[in-house]
Symmetry: C2
Subunit: 130 residues, 2 copies
């Protein structure tokens, strides 16, 4: 029965996601809207967005938590089984929507969710690298 509301802060967060090509951390988001709302509010907005399947949470190899807006492809059930790329140089995380791992696991494991993160150098940084 819980209805979710459209608030100033939530709209601001969503705008940031739309503008950004890469995944963002709580801190990165908060820095952009610290005049609009509190630090805690940003945490709570992110929680809600993840729950409502509007944003997904990504944890990279270092344990850094970031968020990115979901691109729904007219699917009903939405599983984030695509890969993420974490650049060691510019530290940006991007979604590789089309990269999906194939794998075989023992049948007695029941898989509900997967996290597939690659790290290395992104196209930008591997070019500018000498």
């Amino acid at each position: 029965m819980k209805t979710t509301r459209k608030t100033t802060a939530k709209t601001a967060v969503l705008e940031i996601f739309v503008k950004s090509k890469t995944a963002l951390s709580h801190t990165e988001i908060y820095k952009q809207i610290e005049e609009i709302c509190d630090r805690v509010t940003v945490y709570r907005i992110l929680d809600r967005l993840v729950n409502d399947d509007i944003v997904h949470k990504i944890v990279d190899l270092d344990g850094t938590v970031k968020y990115a807006k979901c691109h729904h492809h007219a699917q009903r059930v939405h599983i984030h089984n695509h890969a993420h790329f974490s650049c060691e140089k510019c530290l940006e995380i991007t979604c590789l929507e089309n990269v999906k791992p194939s794998y075989i696991i023992p049948h007695n494991y029941k898989v509900n969710d997967i996290n597939f993160t690659l790290s290395g150098l992104c196209p930008n940084c591997s070019n500018s690298n000498i």
Copy 2:
């Protein structure tokens, strides 16, 4: 030129890893040896072990950081490209040494390391589940 030393604390940590079948967090390790050494020392030992490729670091879907001893298979260069399974019920993380994802990524990305974590129910917990 840096030489790495064999100390009481380091030996104790390694013993814990050998005994354990699952990956362990800093806290879990520290609890077992808090009479031997300081909390900070455990952090520093773990850092060193990861650097020396004796232990590898695993981050699960929630961002929980754990460590497990590496099983080297006579490889020179050691990439942790196997999967990890994180159980949602008992919260244990186990290495699935034989599960390796296959994937195709755009050629302009340079991959140095990968993190492939599956989460759901482990064999133990999916059995005892009603």
